[in-house]
């Protein structure tokens, strides 16, 4: 009897590697993607288990950097049992191929932050649910004029820069991303301060001109929150934040985009991806209504009505987030833009990983990377199974 090599080999599959879908086996060991050529020649080991993948498609696990909740849970509202809420959502996300996500808190009153933030800890994923990468704080440092579904009375200016941020949020240990409007007084100082702490900054919910947006990028921001939504519309004399897609910034600017077939017109999706291909990130921006039938729900302190899958602020026609998970967004996006399947998937895997600076371990199926992946039906792209750190955490029945 040979000693166990701990290797699992997925054969007869297509995998997404280096931007191409290729017929190639995927080898994993100890939660990482293994290099079979090295295993063969150097270690001279064989796989313990070979899984016949029957021509399915294996892609990196999806990464959702903006998700407000789902399945009745709202991360910004249910402060008492937010831990349970995050657990529930992270578990449900597995069925949608999401292996990592950033629970997102919308503009809330100050007490909520000290209540909720410490309870949403970064957590390695597994059978219990997708990996929590860190919280995305969307507001309250946003523009009143572009508040979208956020509540007026809680919106603030970061007058004292980073100090104001800390005052409102408290500890930033659990935070990975903050959305700020760069034109607000003190915003640039806040952006610089957060970036220096290793926290990513996204520009959004903002009336910023292009010049103000560029200042934000210069000071450390590298993302735009849900492009086209809650910002000035494109104007040819001052293209605003949208103009950042084509402005001469030193660094790659990433932008989240909601591709649920409702929030962004297909032509707008095409404009974005043709203008700045590498920067496009699919986000669900899903709300508590995700995964629930039509009815009345809560997003932050507001009442929300879901009608035919669309979520509105109660009594208005203001969209307040989507109810579409990333697996569906990828399909919608591909159909709308007629892009390659590789690109559509990278927009939900490699691009968010790069934006968050975790592309040394997530977002690709390269050797040595975390074995977070999704097995999809090659035609329908239905999620057949989801794997985190080499463990199967979801299998469709």
């Amino acid at each position: 009897m040979k000693a166990k090599s701990g290797l699992t080999r997925f054969s007869n599959c297509f995998i997404l590697r280096d931007g191409k879908i290729i017929k190639e086996d995927l080898w994993i060991r100890n939660g990482k993607i293994a290099n079979p050529e090295q295993v063969f020649y150097v270690e001279q080991e064989e796989a313990d288990i070979t899984v016949n993948s029957e021509d399915s498609l294996i892609v990196p696990g999806f990464i959702d950097i903006q998700i407000n909740g789902g399945w009745g849970v709202d991360f910004s509202y249910d402060s008492e049992n937010v831990e349970e809420g995050v657990k529930k959502v992270s578990k449900q996300l597995l069925a949608h191929g999401v292996t990592s996500f950033c629970p997102t808190m919308v503009t809330s009153e100050k007490e909520k932050y000290s209540n909720i933030l410490p309870k949403i800890q970064k957590r390695q994923g597994g059978e219990h649910g997708a990996t929590v990468l860190g919280v995305h704080l969307e507001g309250p440092f946003i523009s009143l004029a572009k508040k979208g579904a956020h509540k007026d009375e809680y919106i603030l200016n970061p007058e004292k820069g980073l100090e104001s941020i800390k005052e409102v949020y408290g500890s930033l240990d659990n935070v990975i991303l903050v959305t700020i409007a760069p034109e607000l007084p003190g915003a640039l100082d806040a952006i610089r301060g957060l970036s220096n702490m290793g926290i990513k900054v996204a520009l959004g919910h903002s009336s910023a001109s292009l010049a103000q947006g560029e200042e934000g990028i210069k000071n450390g921001a590298n993302l735009i929150t849900h492009l086209f939504n809650a910002m000035l519309p494109f104007h040819h004399r001052d293209p605003g934040l949208v103009g950042l897609l084509a402005s001469k910034t030193d660094r790659q600017v990433y932008y989240g985009i909601i591709s649920d077939g409702i929030h962004t017109h297909p032509a707008a999706l095409r404009i974005a991806c043709r203008t700045n291909q590498e920067g496009l990130i699919l986000v669900s921006d899903a709300v508590a209504a995700q995964g629930l039938p039509d009815g009345a729900y809560r997003i932050g302190p507001q009442a929300v009505n879901v009608n035919e899958g669309r979520a509105y602020v109660a009594g208005t026609k203001t969209l307040c987030g989507s109810t579409t998970a990333l697996d569906q967004s990828i399909k919608t996006f591909k159909e709308a833009t007629e892009c390659s399947l590789e690109y559509a998937i990278e927009a939900a895997t490699l691009h968010p990983a790069k934006a968050l600076g975790i592309d040394d371990r997530k977002g690709k199926l390269n050797f040595g990377f975390d074995a977070d992946f999704v097995i999809l039906h090659p035609k329908s792209l239905k999620v057949l199974s989801t794997w985190i750190a080499g463990e199967c955490v979801y299998r469709s029945s």
Partner: protein, 278 residues
């Protein structure tokens, strides 16, 4: 010597693969009695590997009890470099079949001591009981493995400095920059291949026609190292029509007339019978 002339490269690939299939099948290797195969790299044998993989997938052949020795490898090229022969063998053959990793031997061009590596390789071949079938390709200058023109015809495994022609021919694989082509390679010697019980040389394309003529119709000469196999008791040249362009009509006609006999080699006739009846 046998010269098997087939229509085109696809026919050569298929014939060579069937020959391996026949030899391995008849040998019926076991864990205690393994079949030992010498293997080449390059464009010519690619089709043969593809057919063998197909045979494996169809359940017609297993490499579980096959031991392989590769002919050569560049010195100093990283193992995972797309032009390294480790990379070639893994991607074009080994990863598709059931060979045991410890039984697939490729010279290590990054070994700290190249002399020791060559000695080790020869020793491994000896311990494996010698090579049952060595398959080779040749260069347009008639070199077998990296036994460049002028190599000793009784040479053993060693490090060779590559001829300028070879560097020139290979630079297309290294971004057309000759300075990036490795200058040295480890290679089995002509003598190492001569020791095999059977040798099969694959030759395709008009650019190899002169080499084939030198190998078959002229004398044994270290400037065309492949000609050494004229002295091997069971050498087999498998070529396509294009490669025969420099041969005499008489030679081609004679060997083509034998094609029925040749078909038996990949069919029913036993190896012992084949060795006696040419």
């Amino acid at each position: 010597m046998r010269l098997i002339i087939l229509d085109d490269t696809a026919a050569v690939a298929d014939w060579a693969a069937r020959f391996v299939l026949q030899r391995v099948t008849e040998f019926a290797p076991t864990a205690e009695r393994r079949f030992v195969l010498g293997l080449p790299t390059g464009g010519t044998p690619l089709g043969m590997y593809k057919r063998l993989i197909q045979f494996y997938k169809e359940g017609r052949i297993s490499f579980k009890y096959v031991t392989t020795f590769n002919m050569d490898e560049y010195v100093g090229l990283p193992r995972d470099h797309p032009e390294s022969y480790h990379y070639y063998m893994w991607n074009e053959f080994f990863k598709h079949i059931d060979i045991e990793p410890s039984q697939a031997h490729v010279l290590d061009g990054n070994a700290p001591n190249l002399v020791d590596e060559c000695t080790r390789f020869e020793k491994l071949i000896k311990e494996a009981g010698g090579v049952n079938l060595f398959i080779g390709g040749i260069g347009p200058d008639g070199h077998i493995a990296f036994n460049e023109p002028g190599s000793s015809l009784v040479s053993r495994t060693r490090a060779k400095t590559l001829a300028y022609d070879t560097l020139e021919a290979n630079k297309r694989f290294f971004g057309n920059d000759i300075s990036k082509v490795p200058r040295q390679a480890l290679t089995v010697g002509v003598g190492t291949v001569m020791d095999a019980k059977e040798v099969m040389i694959l030759i395709t394309g008009s650019h190899k026609a002169l080499a084939l003529a030198k190998a078959v119709e002229e004398g044994v000469n270290h400037m065309w190292t492949v000609s050494a196999f004229q002295q091997h008791p069971q050498a087999l040249f498998v070529c396509d029509e294009d490669a025969t362009l420099e041969l005499r009509v008489k030679t081609v006609k004679y060997f083509k007339a034998l094609s029925d006999e040749h078909q038996k080699m990949i069919a029913s006739a036993s190896v012992t019978q084949q060795h006696v009846l040419h």
